[in-house]
């Protein structure tokens, strides 16, 4: 197998509106074009429906972070009280009510930190550079449909994207 055949290419079709993009995405999925992505200046929930994407697992990170924070909060307060047993104001050494305040705050803190970590891991961020073939217009007013394919498929995909309403098609080796 030659190197040229092994190389993968990114073909991006540019669309002026969401409906054309969605139609093209459906066509690409129906034609089993392989790896297909959309690039858009705004989130498009209808893309997830077409792609049949599962719900983001970020929520599990949030839950894990919240539970971890809750444990840290209780652990920190109870552990400190046991490590330094000083009765103040006749209150119990392990005073659950005031300690709950710290546990609550730690739940939120770690919940937020884990949420961001979950987003970065799942969205594969941060990246040093944007992917090859990316076009600045796609954060502006254009919608992109990206198909990852082999060199032999480029012309077919390009033709399909133009047929589906793309007003421009670019391709680049990735």
């Amino acid at each position: 197998m030659s190197k040229a055949v092994e190389a993968r290419h990114s073909v991006i079709g540019f669309y002026a509106d969401v409906d054309s993009l969605i139609a093209a995405l459906k066509a690409a999925r129906a034609a089993h074009c392989g790896e297909v992505h959309t690039i858009s200046p705004v989130p498009l929930p209808e893309v997830d429906e077409v792609l049949g994407a599962k719900r983001s697992p970020v929520r599990r990170f949030t839950l894990a972070g919240g539970l971890f924070g809750l444990a840290v909060g209780w652990g920190l307060t109870i552990g400190s009280a046991e490590h330094y047993p000083l009765i103040v104001g006749g209150k119990p050494l392990i005073s659950l009510t005031p300690f709950a305040v710290i546990a609550y705050i730690c739940t939120i803190l770690f919940g937020a930190l884990f949420t961001v970590a979950g987003m970065l891991i799942n969205a594969r961020l941060p990246r040093i550079q944007v992917g090859r073939g990316y076009d600045p217009r796609l954060t502006g007013n254009r919608f992109g449909l990206q198909v990852i394919c082999s060199q032999t498929e480029i012309e077919t995909i390009k033709h399909r994207l133009l047929e589906s309403g793309a007003d421009e098609v670019k391709y680049v080796e990735v």
Binding site: D17, I39, S80, K91, P98, I102, V116, M119, V130, G140
Partner: protein, 443 residues
């Protein structure tokens, strides 16, 4: 958005209007920066004077141990609250008009907490041992007292800063990618670094929007809890005028009230300076004014309840302190704050007033002043008239406190001014989300 921002807006126009707000500034901007830096330097000098000569150079002395510094701490933490309300709470309720103003409100939150955080340090007298506040394992035998509301406060405020900063920055990432894509040279590298390689792929948006909802959900309880915990700094003590269960909701309402006023104070000149009229319309400002009617009335109810409970409880100390607040040495401050915080927002019931930018700006300034005096009255009157008449003492701020007060405002406005020139002040991707998709504007 099409109705609020005008039907002429489209995706391209949003970029054309908002990216230039980050272009190199002109002379008046630098002159303003220089003035603010001069005031900060003066405040810094006053602080250094206080460090060299001790807290005694400020007006702080027994029994008024908490004075302008803690007043300012509470004031700035309160200012922070509107940002979270507008960005997180209104987001969860899908309030569309928030999109244009929430970025500025979030910036107000982060910078106000950064300003508030200075005051416990300034008030400490020995700021070089500030790390003793944190419950870290150490050999010196410091007692980590988690039963103290002051420790809760350290946790609450630092968590608030962390979560607000995360929410603020996360919300900005797609916009930073827009700016990166429309910049060249070092600016492209600068914004590219902060945009973290954002492209707007379906995968990125899916996880991003999920995270955004959860961050909003996590930030929302902080709106309630942070100022409740700040209020417990007072309410957990037995000082007359402080030891009351109404403090948490009362402080939260006050915090949102002051925060909305500060957002308005900042957004109105910014709107004019950056020509953001299509994005931040009179309707946006009028909606904030309507919120201020609500928070102002909540505050009025709280003030009345405080006085009622003082009378109805039959507690002579409570009655005495509230009588003193209304008719004593600081009565002018009480009536000023009632007029500013409760009276002036009532003018927003008049549609002409809440749609008039000069009126909105003027009344927001009144509320800012009123909210400062609210905290001043709570702190100073209660301390200056404690249980024991022998220790009664009047307090008046001296030049270091007044200089540090001015410095804190300059510091806050400096941070906002830098932000407004470096980062997008209006969320471009969320404004776009509300517009008709390109190619279908007339559909």
């Amino acid at each position: 958005m099409s109705t609020e921002a005008g039907p002429q807006l489209n995706y391209k126009q949003v970029d054309l209007d908002l990216v230039p707000t980050m272009r190199p500034a002109r002379k008046p901007y630098y002159v303003t920066l220089a003035c603010l830096l001069a005031v900060i330097a003066w405040g810094g000098y006053a602080w250094s004077w206080q460090l060299r000569h001790g807290l005694g150079v400020a007006g702080i002395s027994w029994p008024v141990g908490w004075a302008v510094y803690i007043t300012l701490f509470v004031f700035w933490v309160g200012i922070a609250h509107s940002g979270t309300l507008i960005s997180a709470v209104l987001f969860l309720f899908r309030v569309r008009w928030r999109s244009s103003i929430y970025r500025s409100a979030e910036a107000v939150t982060v910078f106000a907490v950064l300003t508030a955080g200075l005051f416990p340090l300034i008030h400490l007298g020995r700021p070089w041992v500030a790390y003793w506040l944190m419950p870290y394992p150490q050999m010196g035998g410091l007692f980590p007292n988690f039963r103290s509301p002051l420790v809760w406060d350290v946790f609450a405020v630092s968590t608030y800063l962390t979560v607000s900063a995360i929410f603020f920055f996360t919300g900005m990432v797609p916009d930073l990618a827009i700016v990166r894509d429309r910049s060249r040279g070092w600016r492209e590298k600068f914004y590219g670094f902060f945009a973290q390689g954002w492209q707007g792929t379906d995968r990125q948006w899916r996880h991003y929007t999920a995270a955004y909802v959860f961050l909003a959900g996590l930030a929302t309880p902080l709106v309630i809890s942070v100022h409740s915990i700040v209020s417990w700094d007072f309410a957990m003590s037995i000082v007359p005028g402080w030891h009351t269960t109404i403090f948490p909701p009362y402080f939260v309402a006050g915090a949102i009230h002051s925060g909305l006023a500060m957002v308005m104070t900042i957004v109105i000149p910014m709107r004019r300076l950056f020509r953001l009229h299509p994005y931040i319309t009179r309707e946006h400002l009028a909606n904030m004014a309507k919120l201020m009617i609500l928070t102002g009335m909540l505050l009025g109810f709280s003030y009345a309840t405080e006085f009622f409970i003082a009378w109805y409880s039959g507690n002579i100390y409570e009655r005495s302190i509230f009588f003193y607040r209304a008719f004593g040495h600081y009565a002018w401050a009480l009536w000023l704050l009632v007029a500013a915080n409760v009276g002036s927002p009532l003018l927003f019931f008049i549609p002409r007033v809440r749609k008039s930018v000069p009126w909105l700006f003027t009344l927001s300034l009144f509320v800012n002043v009123g909210m400062f005096f609210e905290r001043f009255v709570i702190i100073v009157t209660s301390l200056s008239r404690d249980y024991d008449p022998f220790s009664w003492h009047l307090y008046a701020p001296r030049w270091p406190e007044i200089s540090i007060l001015a410095g804190s405002f300059a510091w806050f406005f400096l941070l906002f001014l830098l932000f407004a020139k470096i980062f997008p002040v209006v969320s471009m991707w969320e404004v776009k989300e509300l517009l008709p998709v390109p190619g279908k504007e007339h559909a």
